[in-house]
Amino acid sequence: MSDSTLSVSQVSLVYPQSPNAVLSQASLTLAQGQIACLLGASGCGKTSLLRCIAGFETPSEGSIYLGKIQAFGEQQVLPVERRRIGMVFQDYALFPHLTVAANIGFGLKNSQIDRQQHASIIHDTLRLLDLSSEAKKYPHQISGGQQQRVAIGRAIAPKPALLLLDEPFSNLDLHLRERLAHDLRQLLKAQNITALMVTHDQQEAFAFADIIGVMHQGKIEQWGSADSIYRQPETNYVANFIGDGVVLTQIQAKALNVPANKAGVFLVRPEHLQLAGNGRFNAKIVSVHPQGHSTLLRGICHIEADTQIELMLRCNANQQVQEGETLSFSVVL
């Protein structure tokens, strides 16, 4: 294969007892040093895809290459322990009987790294993750955030070709997640580590990844930058799933004068609708959702007698809007 670090092509996963495919024809590629994220609701197949790449699940068809080595294909199935993949588990799965330092050093024994370097790698990893003072402690004696850093350290110490992360922030405080995702991104970029994370949290994905893959019903709906999946969603699912907004039918779009994006999707986000006293359209507000920094409004816009469109609008937090009120707005695209 090419010089990509990870190349997944046409991978499907079907369990004999269930009619629906867990994964169908999923493809993606990652170049050296790239950081990607699989984003989707629970049950969309994102974790299954991650486990196929790691080798815990065997796909029904397709192929997976790690660099030039075929990890899965018709010719061979490479066992997990020979794939040189690091993985951070959702509950971290730290070895409870080993100290922080021993956890981080666990994988070195089976790596090609020279024995004499082991101690210095453990030392450097501890320092990198700010865990030097916890080296001799056991996993149950440290905080959740520290446990997560041990899990990351353990996964990257043997210098894996690829790092996989399965919802690594889900056990941490909500307000910390975005910050930690950003910090982890800095760290991986500095070490030039190629990584693929699975999450259901958009903010986390946006803070972490160069490339985001939105998954739905076992398919990768779109594989692209954060900006492109937000601004140029390729399917109605992606348009609805990412951010706030409403996908219009062609007739509705024509009435509101909304053009299609590159992929032919008619998407109106709240920021496209400007509230103004002399706007072209009127919306009757049906519900008001204060969000602190601003207020999200749901309104119904009557274009003709038989055409009505439900829209999402946004106003300043200090603007008082009552349910049932009618506001006028114009479309700014």
Binding site: A54, G55, F56, P79, V80, E81, R82, R83, R84, I85, G86, M87, F89, Q90, D91, A93, L94, F95, P96, H97, F106, G107, K109, N110, S111, R154, A155, P158, P160, L164
Partner: protein, 512 residues
Amino acid sequence: MANEKDTWSHLVDTVLLEYVTNTFYLVMGVAVGVTSIGITSAWLIARCDFFGRSFFAWALVLPLAMPAYIIAYTYTGLLDFSGPLQSFLRHTFDWGYGDYYFPEIKSLGGAICMMSLVLYPYVYLLARTAFANQSASLFEAGQLAGLNARQRFFNISLPLARPTIVVGLSLALMETLADYGTVQYFGVNVFSTGIFRTWFGLGDGLAASQLSSLLLVVVLFLLGLEQFSRRKAKYVQQGGRVITAVKLNSVNQLLAQLFCVVVVMLGFLLPFIQLAYWTIVEAEQVFDATFWQLTLNSLKLASITALLAVIIALAFAYMQRFTRPNRFTASLVFLAGLGYALPGTIIAVGVMLPFSTLDHFIHEQAAHFGIETGLIFSGSLVMLVFAYLIRFLAVSLGNINTAMDNITPYIDEAAKTLGEKTSGIIWRVHLPLLKTSLLSSGLLVFVDTLKELPATMALRPFNFNTLAVRSFELANDEQLANAAPAVITIVLVGLIPVIWLNASMHSNSKTQ
């Protein structure tokens, strides 16, 4: 064949009814005894706060180290005509023989008392956990609904804890049915003694098997009850804020302390002191060559059984971990875990018959080739250890399976991504994590083997004696003091896992 048929109809005509009624009264009596002592002590420790509570929480488990047949000896020594109590009464009141009424300890009632005193910890331990973990909001809801403390106990606490209590009760009653030493020593005719007598007295294997089958029906009923209640207990488990203990006033504190002192005194301390007195003061020879030989035999048997039980349980645990869940493995493990319900006498009958058939078969086949094999398995340690394993495998199986289940599959996966093969995962991850439970389950099997009386009596090789068997023989010969050194050795070794159990439960409650 005709002869065997005669034995059975003879049994039916004469003693069968006595076996049935005595066993029934014994089981009922012990059931009342263990539930009343067990529930009361569990409630006091779990829900009442009084001085000495944490000490008694621990001390109330101690009777678990005393086999019923052992306290039967000591109470006989204490309470019979020539014992210290009656001598004291006669001396004080100047009574003679027949001048006063004194209850006979060697009776059905005596057997019920002995077994209740040492088997209540099964109910106590399980009920204590159940009471302690009940959710506080349920009782607050009860208070709001206008229930007083007594009504809250009978309408909320007890029904919620009932399945757990029934599990403990079934275990205690299985032990009651399995008992041979106490009832034999007290001369109470029940199933277990009847099976023994039919077989060794009348030499009738078939009739002994028929009796065993009858007993088995009762055992299976208890087993079903236990399994059913376990499932139910899981169902009523609840999380949330746990209820706190109520501080008792000084009068009630005194009553609570008195209750606990009396129970621990009767179930452990008094018999222990008596044994120590006999060993130190009265026994003729204590640590002579015979004693060391017996100890060596017992230790040898117990360690072989413990080692095998741990290895087999570990193999079962891996069979379940490394294969996809399937009905075959599941039923195999389920069956292997049922042996604890079988009384030693039934296992003895069940093991002896097939092994001797096999022996005779081998003997005959070998004779064709002019080889004299003799009986290979019958009366060998192999058969005895096999019987122990059937009875005690459940102990190691349960412990090791729980410990294995506590190692999440993600731990294995993490090790794999770090380049480790299966053998390395077992060696570097599983064994260090299982170490404690391997050791503790081995220890539990070790102690159970040491205490087991009927299976050892029935299956031991000719001229091979253990501490338990020898002490039983001496006690039956009215040489109670001489039996004491062997007996106190069993008790002291038996204390190790009880203390361990206490310590680990204590540390568990601390970390929670």
